[in-house]
């Protein structure tokens, strides 16, 4: 088997691919922050809400974490037009990703919400602290130690998961890789270059998150 690897065509398309990487990161950011907002509400409701709400959130989380994000998006993508709602593929994908990540983030943040209560008890024992000081010196450190590492990991998972958007025609990194490879017919070369780009951006993301955690929250997360 003789196959001559030829990276020239792919490298020419590097700026186009890197632009796609930016789109991937944007998708991950939207899914992360919108999901975290919903997830925070979910976590608070799951811990402090009335019984029926707790049950409903529990069912939501169980359903979304036990079915594939891809099929969830397929469902939206094909069923919404049926119900008379017409959205662009990107919007559809984003809605699906946010609903999905909200479920996982509810679980992650719930651990934080639960730990607040324990931290408050500890704070009650230490006297002479104002409400603000308690939040600043007791609760915040407690909660960040609890959730920082899982949140960082989940962000990386979202960056990798955003590649799924390609299957709906969104031109993020993997989508652009498909575009490039169908014109240059150098699939292996194209996708190996794209793999390296994913490795680099997730590595930079892990590194920055670890450094941010160390600097801002004194969380010593593993980089590797």
């Amino acid at each position: 088997m003789n196959y001559d690897f030829d990276y020239a065509d792919v490298l020419q398309q590097l700026p186009y691919l890197l632009g796609g990487a930016l789109v991937s990161l944007q998708i991950a950011f939207v899914a992360f922050f919108a999901g975290a907002l919903l997830g925070l509400g979910g976590a608070l409701g799951r811990v402090h809400g009335p019984r029926p709400l707790q049950r409903a959130i529990g069912a939501y989380v169980t359903f979304f974490t036990n079915t594939p994000a891809l099929v969830q998006v397929f469902f939206l993508y094909y069923a919404l037009p049926d119900a008379g709602v017409l959205l662009s593929p990107l919007t559809c994908v984003l809605i699906g990703f946010v609903l999905n990540s909200a479920a996982y983030l509810t679980e992650i943040l719930r651990a934080g919400v639960v730990s607040v209560r324990r931290a408050e008890l500890e704070a009650a024992a230490t006297l002479n602290m104002s409400r603000l000081q308690i939040v600043r010196h007791v609760i915040l450190p407690h909660v960040t130690r609890m959730i920082y590492a899982p949140l960082s990991n989940f962000f990386i998972i979202l960056v990798l998961g955003s590649s799924m958007a390609a299957l709906f025609g969104v031109e993020e990194l993997t989508g652009r890789a498909i575009n490039v490879s169908t014109t240059n017919l150098r699939t292996i070369e194209t996708f190996s270059v794209v793999a390296v780009i994913y490795i680099l951006i997730t590595f930079v993301a892990s590194l920055s998150l670890a450094l941010l955690g160390r600097w801002a929250f004194r969380v010593h997360a593993r980089i590797f």
């Binding site: 169980t62 469902f75 069923a79 049926d82 590649s163 993997t174 996708f191 190996s192 793999a195």
Partner: protein, 232 residues
């Protein structure tokens, strides 16, 4: 919404005919089969990598570096991209390879990377003195691994390994893009044949849930059950 409901009621008898149900069952079996084979092979290979990374011999240092490189690389590439690379690498070499087999190879590559990290954490949870005790009793390295270290690592390995399998049941959905006839692909076929997407993908979601949920519960149970005790 009234019309959607009417459409579902109208389609349901035709959708749930015996031929379609058999087709769905086969697709579910393929999803489960790819996950099971991928995770089993991934576990064995991951165990080998974990043992290699825990070794101390100076001559194995380059191999240890390769193992680290492999694990760190494959955990940072989207499964979809791995699928593409594996598909286009294998097809010219083995034109007769089935799509399911190719997808399973991709799953093994990825699961090896993730499971080796899980296994490594398990092996490292066993105190070094257990190994020293085995060494002075003349246990060889393999015997020490399989009779002393591994049996004590299960409680640390099993819960995250089961969680990983749950994740992989869902990730195999991406293989549908290559044309592997697993659950997600089955859903697409139904929708293409004119069934309502709510019915087609709804049924698929329910089936994924039926595969994944019991396993999630098992993982949660194991985590609670195995936490304190070290003996079986």
């Amino acid at each position: 919404m009234g019309t959607l409901w009417e459409r579902l009621v109208l389609e349901a008898p035709e959708f749930f005919n015996s031929y379609n149900l058999l087709f769905l069952a086969e697709a579910a079996a393929r999803t489960l089969g790819m996950t099971a084979i991928g995770c089993s092979i991934g576990f064995v290979a991951g165990l080998a990598l974990a043992v290699l990374r825990g070794s101390r011999a100076a001559t194995l240092a380059p191999a240890r570096w390769l193992a680290v490189l492999y694990v760190e690389t494959f955990r940072r590439i989207p499964f979809l991209v791995i699928l593409f690379v594996v598909l286009y690498a294998i097809q010219p070499l083995f034109p007769d390879a089935s799509l399911t087999a190719i997808a399973t190879v991709a799953i093994c590559l990825l699961s090896t990377a993730y499971l080796s990290e899980i296994v490594r954490a398990g092996l490292e949870s066993v105190p070094r003195q257990q190994l020293e005790a085995a060494e002075v009793l003349n246990f060889g390295p393999a015997r020490a691994l399989f009779q002393v270290v591994l049996p004590q690592s299960w409680r640390v390995i099993l819960p995250p390994a089961v969680a990983f399998a749950v994740m992989f049941i869902k990730d195999t959905a991406l293989a549908s893009h290559m044309g592997v006839v697993e659950l997600t692909f089955a859903g697409k076929i139904f929708v293409e044949r004119g069934f309502s997407p709510v019915l087609g993908f709804g049924a698929i979601l329910v089936l994924y849930f039926a595969l994944s949920w019991p396993l999630s519960r098992l993982g949660a149970y194991l985590e609670k059950r195995l936490a304190p005790a070290r003996h079986p």
